[in-house]
Amino acid sequence: MQPLANVTPLRSPPRAGAIQINDVGQVYKARGQDVLALSQVSLDIKPGRFVVLVGPSGCGKSTLLMMLAGLRQPTSGTILINGTPITQPDPDRVGVVFQEASLFPWLTAEDNVEFPLALRGVSKAERRARAEEALKLVGLEGFGKRHPQELSGGMKQRVSIARGLVQDPPVLLMDEPFAALDEQTRMTMGDELLRIWAATGKTVVFVTHSLTEAVYLADEVVVMSARPGRIVDQLQIPLPRPRTYEMLSGDAFSSLRDRIWRHIRKSA
């Protein structure tokens, strides 16, 4: 297909995508009592980094992600993306991929990808062109006319990633996106995600329960503890890229994974 002139490539400008989380706390009410979900979380994420949040259930990593998405407000502290506070969902700056692909079952794959553009009244022709480009990027060229229920779990997540990328935001947030997939699909999707990330240069914040997945994907793993959620460790992952399956059984890999596991066992 001939690329249209008004279609911007899915590559963010080099400086965009910086995330600064300053002393963020989150308190919610449960049965009339204040519960501290997050306490004094500070994190600086450089543009284009792949950061993975891990921690035991209830450590508030998903809450933190929802705040980055502008879907929740921090009770205290500030969150800056591209240097300005995020106070509401802003698809220009942040794309979100949810656990259960969250595709609209009544729309085809391409209509799902176009959805965020349709919300803002982008013209049909441009929508279609950008959706096609995004679907191509996630390896789903030619599947645009299918409905979600005609797609496998992995393909649904690809559509969901395409939808997150279609507005070309500098930041992509992913809330346990591969948790519902089987092991093999999960591995494939991990490699696919790294390929897409390398091709687009997005800042990725990725939440997962799988320590292997965390070490395999990340530049940096942020370990959180539960009640209240705090950051207890930040590990740089020095493994070279591209990451390969063989690294999984290497010593460097296991010692990193063990270090994360010790934190989590202690705080759970």
């Binding site: 698809p91 969250s102 599947f143 229920q149 496998s152 393909m155 091709a199």
Partner: protein, 266 residues
């Protein structure tokens, strides 16, 4: 043999039996008049049946509008707001269990034995399931879908129009199917009980004079009405709820992508 062919054969066999059984005297004509005599009775009194059909269709149409319109509107309201839900739902649910037909004599006292009492009765009769289904449909919308829409910057109106509405359609339609069928039942039954016009009235009147062919001609008309209504609902379902039918093609596997179609796009 294909199931559809078999189904057709069964229908044809039943129609044939309807003709044969009374003709051979195995079943008395009083119990079951043959198909041909039923049709003949219907055609000789075509004017009378036509007029009755118009009355019944008018009552069904108006009641349908009240039952479905009101049911969807109130169901949507009750489904999306927690406070009215707590107040109204238990009442409506228990009302649904009451045989509402006991109210019909009261309606005739209030509204007379003309069309108004039938419309009132059938509207309420069909309203309840429509409302309950709509409320359930709205309540069971996957909150993840709404969250996803919100993350993409959808406003409240956009979420209602682009997410809640299409997501609720299949459940609302299944409510309409039951509600609409009950409207037809409500109109015909109330015509049979106390009235002076309509198909139900004809059936009931011919029954008292033991004129079986004319009774069955009326029954056939009601049957045709129900079949037509069902076809209409199916048509609407096909039009706007394709996504609910689970039988569209086999699910793709991840291998589909892995083989061939999957090339790095960079």
């Amino acid at each position: 043999m294909k199931p559809s062919t078999l189904r057709r054969l069964i229908v044809i066999a039943l129609i044939a039996l309807w003709e044969i059984l009374p003709r051979t005297g195995l079943v008395p004509e009083l119990f079951l008049p043959s198909l041909s005599s039923t049709l003949k009775a219907g055609f000789t009194e075509a004017g009378e049946y036509g007029q009755a059909l118009l009355v019944t269709l008018y009552e069904v149409g108006v009641s349908m509008a009240f039952a479905c319109g009101g049911g969807i509107l109130l169901g949507a309201l009750v489904g999306s707001l927690p406070r009215p839900r707590v107040l109204i739902m238990p009442m409506v649910s228990s009302l649904y269990a009451v045989p509402l037909v006991i109210l019909y004599p009261v309606f005739t006292v209030w509204l007379g034995i003309g069309s108004e009492s039938k419309i009132a009765f059938a509207s309420i009769y069909g309203f309840l399931p429509t409302m309950l289904a709509t409320a359930a449909g709205i309540q069971t919308i996957d909150p993840q879908l709404l969250l996803a829409a919100r993350s993409m910057g959808a406003t409240l109106t956009q979420r209602l129009v682009r997410v809640v509405l299409p997501a609720a359609i299949p459940t609302v339609l299944s409510g309409l199917r039951i509600g609409g069928a009950l409207v037809i039942v409500g109109v015909v039954v109330s015509e049979m009980l106390i009235s002076s016009a309509g198909i139900g009235y004809l059936i009931s009147r011919y029954r008292t004079i033991l004129d079986s062919p004319h009774v069955f001609a009326g029954v056939l008309l009601v049957l045709a009405m129900a079949v037509a209504f069902n076809a209409a609902i199916k048509w609407i379902e096909r039009k706007c709820a394709i996504w609910q039918t689970g039988t569209r093609g086999a699910q793709a596997t991840d291998d589909d992508v892995a083989t061939g179609a999957m090339q790095p796009a960079t």
